[in-house]
C-alpha cells in the first residue's frame, strides 16, 4: 500500500519543550485529509447545505411552483450519491486496515448506544462518542464515522428512509468539526470545550434537520393561508421568520435542549476516560511508523 500523507509525522522528536503530542503526531493519519479529499468535501458540503436550505433559497414567481414539489424528491435521491462520492474519496485517499477496523467497531458501539436514548425527548446518545472520536482521530475520521455510524444504526434498528442521507451528512459535519477544534487545548479545558461544542452541535443538528422536514411536516402551502408552513415564492426573510418560529415552537424547547443536555452530561461524565481510551488505542494502532 502506498504510504499515507502524514505517516512520517510520528518520527518527529519530542524536543519542543513539551512531550510529543500524540494528536499532533497522529494528525490526519487515521483517515488522511488530502487536498483532493478536502476539495471534494467542500464541494459536497456546499451542495449538501443547499439541499438542506432549499426552502429558503428558492426564487420562484408565485405562479411557477412546479419545481417546488419536485425539489425535495430530487434532492433526497441525489444526496446519497454525493455522500458516497466523498466516502469513496476518503477510502481512496489511503484508509488502512486499522482505521477501517476502528471505524467499524466505533460505528457498532455508536449504533448500540443509540437505542439507549431511543430519541425520546431528544435524548440522543449518538453524538458524544462521535465528537470524542473525531477529536482524537481527526476531521477525516470524524466525517467518515459520522456517516458509517448513522448508517449502521439505521440498518440495525429502524431508520432507513429519505431522511437518512441528511442525518448522515449532518453528523458527518459534527464529527469533522470536532476534529477541527484547536488541538493545543488539553486537560479540563479540553472537556469544557468539547461540552460547549456538543451543545452547539446539538442545536445546529436540530435546526438543520428541522429545515429538512419542515416542508414535509408543516406542509407546503400553495393555497395561501400561510401559517407555519413553507410558502414557495415568498421572500427569504418571511420564510426564514416562519421557519424559526416553527423550530422554536416544535423542537427548541424539547428535543434540541434534551439533545444538548444529553451531549453535555455524557461528555462531562465520560469525556475524560473515553478520550484516554481512544488515545491509548490510537497510540497502539500507530506503533510502527512504517506502514506497509
Amino acid at each position: 500500500m502506498r504510504p499515507a500523507a502524514g505517516s512520517t509525522a510520528p518520527e518527529r522528536p519530542a524536543d519542543q519543550g513539551r512531550p510529543t503530542d500524540l494528536v499532533t503526531r497522529l494528525q490526519g493519519t487515521a483517515v488522511p485529509l488530502g487536498l483532493r479529499s478536502a476539495i471534494v468535501l467542500t464541494l459536497v458540503s456546499i451542495a449538501g447545505l443547499a439541499m438542506f436550505c432549499w426552502p429558503l433559497l428558492t426564487h420562484h414567481g408565485p405562479s411557477n411552483t412546479g419545481h417546488v414539489t419536485d425539489a425535495p424528491i430530487i434532492f433526497a435521491v441525489t444526496l446519497p450519491l454525493l455522500v458516497l462520492v466523498v466516502l469513496a474519496e476518503f477510502a481512496d485517499g489511503g484508509m488502512d486496515s486499522k482505521a477501517l477496523a476502528m471505524l467499524g467497531v466505533l460505528s457498532a458501539v455508536d449504533a448500540a448506544l443509540r437505542p439507549v436514548g431511543g430519541g425520546t425527548g431528544g435524548v440522543e446518545t449518538v453524538f458524544f462518542l462521535l465528537i470524542l472520536a473525531g477529536r482524537v482521530f481527526g476531521p477525516g475520521f470524524g466525517f467518515v464515522l459520522g456517516c458509517t455510524s448513522l448508517f449502521a444504526s439505521a440498518l440495525l434498528t429502524a431508520g432507513v428512509g429519505p431522511w437518512l442521507p441528511f442525518q448522515m451528512l449532518c453528523s458527518a459535519w459534527i464529527g469533522m468539526g470536532a476534529g477541527l477544534l484547536p488541538r493545543r487545548v488539553r486537560g479540563a479545558r479540553e472537556v469544557v470545550m468539547l461540552i460547549g461544542y456538543g451543545v452547539l452541535a446539538a442545536y445546529l443538528f436540530g435546526l438543520l434537520m428541522n429545515l429538512f422536514n419542515w416542508p414535509f411536516l408543516a406542509g407546503t402551502d400553495i393555497a395561501g393561508h400561510a401559517n407555519l408552513a413553507f410558502v414557495p415564492g415568498d421572500s427569504l426573510w418571511s420564510n426564514l421568520h416562519r421557519f424559526l418560529i416553527y423550530t422554536l415552537v416544535t423542537s427548541t424547547g424539547g428535543w434540541d435542549t434534551g439533545r444538548a443536555i444529553t451531549n453535555a452530561v455524557a461528555i462531562a461524565l465520560l469525556g475524560r476516560p473515553v478520550l484516554t481510551l481512544l488515545r491509548r488505542a490510537a497510540r497502539r494502532a500507530s506503533y510502527d511508523p512504517v506502514r506497509t
Partner: protein
Amino acid sequence: MKRLPGVVHPVAWWLWAIGMAVAASFTTNPLLLLILIGVSCFVVVLRRGSAPWSRSLRVYLLLGLAIVVVRVFFRCFLGAAGGGPVLLDLPRIPLPQWAAGITLLGPVRLSDLLAGLYDGLHLAGMVVCVGAANSLANPKRLLKVVPISLYDIGTVVVVAVSVFPQLADSIGRVRRAQRLRPAREGRWHVVRRTIVPVVADALDRSLLLAAAMDSRGYGRRAATSARTRTLVSVVTVAGLIAVCIGVFGMLDDQAPLLFRAPAFVTGLLLAAGGLVFSSSERTVTRYRPDAFDLRSAAVAASGLAAGALMLVATRQAPAHLSTPVEPAQWPVVDLLPLVAAMIGVLAAVVSPRPVLHEEVTA
C-alpha cells in the same frame, strides 16, 4: 459448493420496496394507502428472518403513526382554515406580532382533519414500504454488491453490523466481573463502569481485527497510475462543481436554462462516472456471491409492477387516486389502482420460506 437455501437477493427486496413506495407516492386515497401498507406488512411477517434488523417493522409502523398524528395536529391546531362541518370549536389565539402573525387553535373543521390524515398516510405509506425492505434484506449481503470504489466503506459497515451482536456479550462479561467486586452505589457510577470497559474491549477487538485483516492481505492493491488518478480527480471535481451550480440554478427562476437541470444532471453523471472509473483498475473477488435468480427477479418484478401500474393509473384512471376533502367524500377505489396496490403480495408467493435461526441451530 452448496448454496444457502431460501435466500432472495437483497437487491430484489429493495427493488420490490422501492416499487411499492413509488406506488404509494402516486396516491392519497386512504384505502389504497392502507392496502399498500397492509401488503408490505403481510409480506414482511411471512418472509422475514430472525436477525436483529428483521424486528424493525414495528418501529416503522409506530413511526408512520407518529407522522400521521403530527401531520393532523399541524393541520388542525395551528391555524386551520378548511371548510365543511365544524368538529371542535376552539377559540383562536393570535400570537404577538413578532411571531409572524400566526394564530393557534381555532375551529377544527372536517376538511382539515381529513387533509391532514390523507397527507400523513401518504408519507407513512412510503416510510412503511421502505421499512419493509429494511426488515427483509440482509444488509451484510446487500453491502457485497456495492461498487468496488466503495468496498472499504462497505467493509466498515459490515464490520459494524457483525460486531454489534458481540457488544451484548461484552456487556454481559463486564457486568459479571463487576458483580464479583464490591460496587459503589450510584446510577452514574454504574453507567461509567459499564461503558468504559465495553468501549475499551471494543477498541482492543478492533486492533485484533485489523491485525487479522492485515495478515490475510486485506487492501493490498497495485498502485493506480498517475494518469488515472488525475483523470478521476478532474472528472469528480468538475462533476461536483456542476452539481453545485445546478442545485442553485434549479432553485432560481432567473438562472440561465443551461445552469439548471442540465448542469445538475451532467454533474451527477460525471461524479458517478468518477466513482465507477476509480474502481476500474481494482479487482476484488467475492466469496459465494448471491445469485440474482428467477425467484429474486420475480420478487423485484412484483414490486416494480406495483409502481408501474400505479403510474399507468395516474394516466388512465386518475379520477379516484386522490380523495376530495371539501366536500368530504367516501374514498372510491378503481380496478386498476386496486390491482396495482395488491400485486406486491405476489412477492410472498414466489419467495421461499425464510430459514429461521432456531432451525439452523437445532
